[in-house]
C-alpha cells in the first residue's frame, strides 16, 4: 500500500513540475468552424462516409448508438465529402452516386479492411545522381496480429523507358529451328542486341517492383522524399472515386472526393490499368 501511495505521489508531482500554455488552456484560439468541418484524416473520411460520427464531429457513433449510420446524416456528410471548388464533378453524377450509396434497401458503406482501395504515393528517389519521381501504389494487407501497408506496384519512368519491345518488322527473333543448332544464336540475342526484351513471350510484362527493390538493394536508388498522397476507391459497386487532400482556406477542405466515375461492366479494369500506367 505504501508503494502505491509513493507511486501516486510521484505521478502527481511529476505532472505539476511544468506549467505553460497547452491544448485547451485558457486563451486557446477558437476554431471558427473551418477545422471542425475539414475532413482531417482519411479515417474521418470513412466515418463521415458511413455516418459514424456526430454532425459536429465530437462523438464517434458505434453500432449500439441510435444515430449510427443514420441515412439523413450520411446524406449530409457525403455531400460535403466532395471537392466542390476545383474538381468539377457533375451534380447529376453526384446525385446518382448518393442515390445508390444511400439506397434504403441496399446501402453501401466503406470498410477499412475490405480491400478494393489503395493509395498512390508520389515520392522522389535519387537515381544515378538525379532526383527522380517514383510513384508507389500501396495496399493494406493482413500480417501477423494486424495489418500493414505494403508496396504493391511501382511506376518509374527510367524503368518504363528501359523496356520497349519492338513490334512487326522491327522485332528481331530466334528462328523456329534454333533448337537444331543448339540455340547458338542466343549470342545475337544477348550480346549483339540492345533490346533483349524482343526475345520474350507476347504476355511478358516487366516486373518493375522487383527491379525497384533490386536497385535499392544495390544502392542505386536512394529514398529522398514524399511529395503527395491520394487514394483510389473501388469499394462501391460500379463506382470509382479518388480522394485527395485539399489544404486551402475555407470550409471545403481536407480529404475529399476529387474524381467520380460511374463504371460500366468491364470498365473497372480499364480504370485500374489507367491509374497504374498513367505516368
Amino acid at each position: 500500500m505504501r508503494k502505491l501511495t509513493i507511486i501516486i505521489l510521484l505521478i502527481i508531482s511529476s505532472f505539476e513540475l511544468v506549467s505553460g500554455q497547452g491544448l485547451y488552456s485558457p486563451g486557446s484560439p477558437q476554431d471558427d468552424g473551418r477545422f471542425a468541418s475539414s475532413t482531417k484524416q482519411v479515417n474521418q473520411f470513412f466515418r463521415r462516409f458511413n455516418g459514424e460520427e456526430s454532425a459536429d464531429g465530437s462523438k464517434r457513433y458505434y453500432d449500439t448508438d441510435a444515430e449510427y449510420r443514420d441515412r439523413t446524416l450520411r446524406g449530409k456528410f457525403i455531400s460535403i465529402l466532395f471537392d466542390n471548388e476545383t474538381s468539377n464533378v457533375e451534380s447529376q453524377l453526384k446525385s446518382d452516386f448518393l442515390k445508390e450509396v444511400l439506397s434504403e434497401n441496399l446501402p453501401q458503406y466503406l470498410a477499412f479492411h475490405r480491400g478494393e482501395w489503395f493509395s498512390e504515393v508520389e515520392t522522389t528517389f535519387i537515381y544515378k545522381g538525379k532526383r527522380e519521381n517514383v510513384t508507389l501504389f500501396m495496399k493494406l494487407q493482413p500480417e501477423g496480429l494486424g495489418y500493414e501497408w505494403v508496396v504493391d506496384k511501382v511506376n518509374f519512368a527510367p524503368f518504363k523507358n528501359l523496356f520497349k519491345k519492338p513490334v512487326g518488322d522491327q522485332k528481331s527473333f530466334l528462328h523456329p529451328m534454333s533448337h537444331e543448332i543448339g540455340f547458338m544464336n542466343l549470342r545475337k540475342a544477348f550480346q549483339d542486341s540492345k533490346l533483349p526484351e524482343a526475345y520474350t513471350p507476347k504476355e511478358y510484362e516487366p516486373d518493375y517492383l522487383t527491379l525497384f527493390l533490386y536497385e535499392i538493394k544495390n544502392g542505386n536508388l536512394k529514398f529522398d522524399n514524399v511529395l503527395d498522397v491520394k487514394f483510389h476507391f473501388f469499394q462501391i459497386d460500379n463506382w470509382y472515386f479518388e480522394v485527395n487532400q485539399f489544404n486551402r482556406p475555407g470550409f471545403n477542405t481536407g480529404w475529399l472526393i476529387s474524381n467520380l466515375i460511374k463504371l460500366k461492366p468491364g470498365e473497372k479494369d480499364v480504370v485500374q490499368r489507367y491509374i497504374y500506367d498513367q505516368k
Partner: protein, 192 residues
C-alpha cells in the same frame, strides 16, 4: 485537477484490464478511455512545446522540458514538416525539432493550440500493438523587435499514437494497463 483525471484514468484502465486481458478487440468504452489518455499525452506535448518555444524559458529549464517531452515518444520517432510553399517533408528527430524550436530567432514567441482535435480509430499492427492518429492545430506567432517583423502560421499536427497493453507489479499483484506512447508526427502548414 485535470492531471488527477488522467491519474484516475490510469488506475481505471489498470483495474478494468485485469478482467479483460484476453480481449482482442477494444470496446467503445475502452476506446474512449484510451482516447482520453492519448489526449492527455498530446496535451502534455503541446504544453512542453509552448514552454520550449517561449523566450521566457531559461536554457536549463528548456533542456529539462525537452527531456520530459522526449519521454512521451517511442524510440526513433520523427517529425516530418512541410509548408505551403514547400511540399517536400523536412525530417527531424524529435529532440532536434525541439532544439530548433528553442533556437528560433524571435524576441517573442507565442504558441497556442486551437480548441479542436480529432482522434482516429485504433488499428492493430502486425506486432499486436494498436496504432492511431490524433490531429491538433497549433498557432505560432513570432515577433522580432529589432526588425519589427511578425511571423505567424497555423500548422496541423497529425500525431501517431501507439497503444500497448503493459504489466506492472503493485503490492505483489500483476496489474495490466493500457499505455500510450507518441510516435511520428506529420506537421503541415495550413492555409488558415
Amino acid at each position: 485537477m485535470k492531471k488527477y483525471i488522467s491519474l484516475f484514468l490510469f488506475l481505471f484502465l489498470a483495474g478494468t484490464s485485469v478482467s479483460m486481458a484476453q480481449s482482442e478487440t477494444i470496446s467503445p468504452a475502452r476506446k474512449q478511455a484510451i482516447d482520453s489518455l492519448a489526449l492527455e499525452k498530446v496535451k502534455d506535448l503541446s504544453k512542453y512545446i509552448s514552454i520550449i518555444g517561449s523566450k521566457e524559458t531559461q536554457f536549463s529549464e528548456a533542456n529539462r522540458v525537452m527531456d520530459r517531452a522526449e519521454e512521451l515518444f517511442a524510440p526513433d520517432a520523427e517529425m516530418g514538416v512541410s509548408s505551403l510553399n514547400r511540399k517536400e517533408i523536412a525530417y527531424y528527430k524529435v529532440r532536434r525539432y525541439f532544439e530548433r524550436l528553442m533556437a528560433l530567432n524571435y524576441d517573442r514567441v507565442n504558441i497556442t493550440w486551437y480548441d479542436i482535435h480529432y482522434i482516429s480509430d485504433l488499428e492493430r499492427q502486425p506486432d499486436g500493438r494498436y496504432v492511431g492518429v490524433v490531429t491538433v492545430y497549433q498557432r505560432f506567432e513570432g515577433t522580432s523587435l529589432e526588425s519589427g517583423l511578425n511571423y505567424r502560421d497555423t500548422t496541423k499536427k497529425d500525431i501517431t499514437i501507439y497503444v500497448e497493453k503493459k504489466q506492472t507489479q503493485i503490492a505483489g499483484r500483476t496489474i495490466e494497463f493500457w499505455d500510450v506512447m507518441l510516435g511520428d508526427i506529420r506537421v503541415t502548414e495550413t492555409s488558415a
